[in-house]
């Protein structure tokens, strides 16, 4: 065989492999590479974009996934029209946005929402109108106590407890302090998980609930110092953590206690933002797979974000959750035989059980429950210079509030 033929064959093979690899990585929906052009299917989301913190990462990932779906045949030829509304962290605005999406836009389902206020404001509406909402990120308690509302994350209560569990059991801690913002349905509920864990294990827990509008982290750090606990967990969005960590650093509290953070701290920029004082001192709970995970769905998430998302879209746990919400919704819609409308979409989404993904510790399900919390296990990671080091395999949250969920799962048919 001539040398040039061998070389040509090798080049062709390499290009072919590269092409097939790329296709496999950003595969979405029907994956046929044809642009969808039929009558659009309406899907909506509500996020808390403007307000104390930007909570739109989840819907931005869902948007990227739906863009990918539309470029790959849509839902049997019909494109998804994805409408995202900003609730500005205001329940009244969230209610107006949901009414607009449900009654005017006539969405068949909601997917990728992420908000501090919309669950409490809209759970009843979704039930009344027969709309299933597969949110990316549920934040307050109401997001885990709605019949038609489900999330892919395990929520701040489970994640804060996950961090508390890890530091307590690894370092044999004898006391804990839980710090959370006094947002209705959030702060007390989040630290309540740590308190119940402490009670069950005979570990005293001091809870500090602060005003989220408070500008200075120093006064909070002073209370943490006064508690003299061996472990501290901060149950809050990452933006609120930074001034507290800065103040704690100035008071050198990183040496006197072990610090645990929920998944909101699992963000690529966090190691740089907290500074070198905190490197190798912060233990972070991860609700989904590590960002550098090499499983097929995680690889697909990164590829879809790179190709169909914006460069500025965050690559964090909430983005992973939004991607999964869009993926499960798409697959449910693709499974509908006949017309895709709200009723058929609801049945398809609620009927999803034993849905496996490498991004979660256990299969995801919707099912008939009165409330939903399919994600209640995660991993622990250590914040280091330049990134995070995964420390554990999946472990279950030991929250007494999960009793009903575990009982339902034990009946079978949802997870296995």
């Amino acid at each position: 065989m001539k040398k040039s033929t061998i070389l040509g064959g090798a080049v062709a093979l390499t290009l072919g492999l590269a092409a097939s690899g790329a296709t496999a990585q950003d595969k979405c929906g029907m994956g046929n590479g044809k642009k969808a052009s039929g009558d659009p299917i309406q899907i909506g989301a509500i996020v808390g974009k403007t307000g104390p913190e930007d909570f739109s990462s989840s819907a931005r990932a869902a948007q990227a996934y739906f863009n990918c779906v539309n470029a790959n045949g849509g839902i049997n030829g019909r494109p998804i029209q994805y409408t995202v509304q900003d609730d500005t962290w205001n329940p009244e605005v969230a209610s107006q946005a949901a009414n607009k999406l449900v009654k005017d836009t006539k969405v068949v389902a909601m997917a990728g929402s992420s908000s501090f206020v919309e669950c409490g404001a809209n759970n009843d509406l979704y039930v009344k109108e027969g709309v299933a909402s597969v949110s990316g990120v549920g934040v307050p308690r109401a997001c885990f106590y709605g019949k038609n509302y489900i999330s892919f994350n395990s929520g701040p209560r489970q994640s804060t407890l996950g961090a508390a569990q890890y530091i307590t059991e690894t370092f044999k801690l004898k006391s804990l302090t839980c710090v959370a913002p006094g947002i209705p349905g959030f702060g007390d509920w989040v630290c309540g998980g740590v308190e119940s864990y402490g009670k069950a294990n005979n570990i005293p827990v001091k809870t500090v609930i602060f005003d989220p509008g408070q500008l200075d982290g120093n006064a909070i750090a002073l209370q943490v110092a006064a508690a003299k606990s061996e472990g501290v967990v901060l149950g809050m969005p990452r933006g609120m953590m930074l001034p507290i960590l800065t103040a704690a650093e100035q008071q050198d509290l990183g040496k006197s206690a072990k610090w645990g953070l929920p998944t909101s701290a699992y963000h690529a920029d966090m190691p740089k933002a907290v500074g070198k004082y905190w490197h190798d001192k912060l233990y972070v709970h991860m609700e989904l797979q590590p960002m550098d995970g090499t499983g097929p769905d995680n690889t697909n998430w990164k590829a879809v974000m790179d190709k169909f998302g914006d460069k500025k879209d965050p690559r964090d746990t909430f983005s992973q959750a939004g991607f999964l919400a869009a993926k499960v919704t798409t697959e449910a819609l693709l499974g509908i035989k006949g017309n895709v409308d709200r009723k058929s979409a609801y049945q398809a989404i609620v009927g999803t059980t034993k849905w496996k993904t490498d991004m979660m510790c256990a299969p995801w399900y919707f099912g008939p429950g009165e409330r939903h919390q399919p994600n209640h296990a995660g991993r622990a990671a250590l914040l280091q210079k330049g990134g995070f080091k995964t420390l554990t395999e999946c472990y279950q949250s030991k929250d007494s509030e999960l009793e009903d969920v575990l009982k339902l799962e034990a009946k079978g048919g949802l997870v296995n």
């Binding site: 602060f210 989220p212 509008g213 120093n218 001034p243 800065t246 008071q251």
Partner: protein, 294 residues
């Protein structure tokens, strides 16, 4: 008292920045009669620009100069080109115009920098004042307090002893008569806006360091600053400084009372309303309203 002392010290340090911001608001109000709602947004922009320059690995001092410089420049632009066209509008309209300016700055900054976690580190962070065997506050907070005191003394001196201060006081008394006797109204106003921008930039750097490096959060720094200025009746710099410190200390002390701790950010409103009511009862009004003479 041992329990209270750390909270008082911490409260004074953050109150110092409220005071510094309040001084900026009062100086502008005295000269031009405008309540500047854009003060916090300018400070937020200064902090973000400073962070950006340092993040690009330029020297720290370049970041500080760039941050404060941008806030000062924008305030000058507003004072030189936008504010004059609103001179004959109602006082409320002029205040609302600054609110629009604030929302514009905040929106652009939020769009450009987003909500990624960031931190503005100052060299004075690395050391601090010790209490009971551990560090209580960083030197940055001490520097902020010194800046607040320095700005107050500097502004008092400027108003009392310099030709510019004289012109500002003339405008405060009667803008029309001041103009008739030769005071260059537009130029004096522009100076007041420039000084306000400078103080906004400096306050923004401190707040970006002490609080959160987020344009939206820093924009709302104007609320406690406004409350401090209300304590000073938008007129007295000394009372404004005292107001800022009192708000900071009360906010901090509320952390010791779990029942009200989660409502600490209402302190600024409560203090401002209480002081205004008390002043009304005792016949003390706001700085003389000369808008009818404009």
């Amino acid at each position: 008292m041992e329990t209270l002392l750390p909270f008082i010290v911490v409260g004074i340090s953050v109150g110092a920045v409220y005071a510094l911001s309040g001084v900026g608001l009062v100086v502008l109000y005295r000269a031009s009669g405008v309540v500047n709602f854009a003060f916090g947004a300018l400070g937020g922009l200064a902090a973000m620009v400073c962070w950006q320059v340092i993040d690009l690995e330029y020297d720290d001092w370049m970041g500080w100069v760039a941050g404060v410089g941008v806030a000062t420049l924008l305030s000058w632009v507003y004072g030189r080109f936008i504010a004059p066209s609103l001179t004959h509008q109602d006082r409320v309209v002029r205040a609302m115009a600054t609110l629009g300016f604030a929302l514009m700055i905040m929106g652009i900054a939020q769009w450009y920098w987003g909500d990624d976690p960031r931190r503005l580190v100052l060299p004075t962070d690395s050391d601090g004042i010790e209490f009971d065997g551990r560090r209580l506050i960083s030197h940055t907070r001490v520097v902020a307090l010194l800046f607040a005191a320095g700005a107050t003394v500097g502004m008092l001196w400027l108003l009392a002893k310099t030709p510019l201060g004289l012109r500002m006081r003339a405008l405060q008394s009667n803008r029309v008569l001041a103009g008739l006797v030769g005071v260059r109204v537009k130029r004096t106003d522009t100076w007041a806006w420039t000084l306000a921008g400078l103080l906004a930039g400096i306050s923004g750097l401190f707040m970006g360091n002490m609080v959160r490096l987020n344009p939206t959060v820093l924009t709302f720094l104007v609320i406690p600053a406004m409350a401090a200025a209300m304590v000073g009746r938008m007129n007295s710099l000394t009372a404004t400084v005292v107001g800022g410190l009192v708000i900071g200390v009360i906010e901090s002390l509320l952390n010791l009372v779990p029942e009200v701790q989660r409502y600490g950010s209402a302190t600024a409103f409560v203090v401002a309303i209480s002081v205004v009511l008390w002043q009304q009862r005792h016949g003390i009004g706001l700085s003389r309203d000369n808008s009818h003479l404009e």
